[in-house]
Symmetry: D2
Subunit: 140 residues, 4 copies
């Protein structure tokens, strides 16, 4: 399981006074940095080799400006050319604020086509299959 | 079916040179403006009465800076206190670039609780159940 | 003078219920699209040749969700390798909401150095030196 | 002098592969959090009492995805109802990447008018007038 800690920015919040729904996906994207490094250790933009095929999020509780939250990330599936990443966000009082997932695929941007997940990356991903305790189920 | 037209902003794109995954959700949010008006005709922020319970998106094709795209939006379910909105984005060459959905709930922000969908709103939503032809299925 | 029309997005606004200060700069960036086309007619990201050297904005009045505003843009200086762009935003009731400017420089991203403004681009920019009437002065 | 440390998000960067000009202003906004707390210790959105009157930034060097940078913030002027905040960003290699400032004003959002800076806040601000050594001058 990977853990990413983020402090809510003023500009992540919308007129309802809470984090806008789109910013949850930005937090998920940042939480995948350790996974990006498996595929691209220097995080070199010109050598990028993953795309997001789909993503979703259940909004469980609000998050507020300046709040510190943790995004937990784990792997629920590793396929030939894609894998599924699970996310859950917990606030500094232990409340779950979000539950999401994303399907990522290996991708060759020059050739514009999906490519297989390498064996070392697949093996490393397989070591991160366990999520946090008491995490909410995705609603579907 | 509702239609919302948007031109991709420079700042909607990320270092891959295409619209970032989070901006698709911003486009969906703007595409729901006609629905927001059903519940809040003046779009008065202080009288806001809807929340996003969950949302998802399949990324079908890339979108580029300055490209004009259309977001089609329709209703697939109206429940007691929530309803499901379907979205699909088509670019100016007729290609589908995204397929998504969102569950919205009636919400009382002062009381912090969900509230029923009014009969007039439910009836109006029911008039928008048809999506565009040949739209991709959500992957699940 | 160039004119760019934009409708405020929900997600451009922050918890004060108005457009966040950073989104004004996004509107300015979009308003420069006609200028970008002078230097890069197809707006090809891989052939980009301008950078922002500095930018500023006076915030004159608030803008709200779904409001339609116009960004007026004109040129106050054309130098050897840089030029100064002036911006002013007016809302749908004729109120000025912002006054800003940006210094842009010709740039070779491969060589990472500034380059001269071509004569045709400089001549075209010189045709757009007039701003709107009654526009507020920049505060400095 | 205040110091705020931030790690560049993937979504802060644009198609040039570097932090977009608007995100610098988001970093400045976060860097003002300690100042916000002077005026609103709990950072309560419903009791907000400052507005940004103007802001500007010189872009000195690029910043990249995942880079850790520090925003230094100090006070150059305290007036009756407004004050001037200076900002400078330094990357993890000691390079200056940006130099900016913002004018903030005391504001009563209910009455929609500027209000005086309280004596305790003014005194506290006056303790933070020194900036970092060797910081670039603002270009104008």
């Amino acid at each position: 399981m990977y853990e990413y800690n983020v402090t809510v920015r003023f500009n992540d919040c919308d007129s309802m006074g809470h984090v806008n729904n789109t910013a949850y996906f930005t937090y998920f994207e940042e939480a995948r940095k350790d996974i990006f490094k498996l595929f691209n250790p220097a995080l070199d933009i010109d050598a990028w080799n993953l795309i997001v095929a789909s993503t979703q999020c259940d909004f469980v509780n609000e998050m507020n400006y300046a709040q510190k939250v943790s995004v937990y990330t784990w792997i629920s599936r590793v396929g030939t050319s894609s894998f599924t990443v699970e996310h859950a966000i917990q606030d500094d009082e232990g409340r779950w604020t979000a539950r999401g997932k994303a399907v990522l695929a290996g991708y060759d941007f020059a050739e514009r086509k999906t490519v297989p997940i390498s064996e070392p990356a697949a093996s490393e991903l397989a070591l991160h299959q366990e999520g946090p305790e008491n995490v909410p189920e995705l609603r579907g």
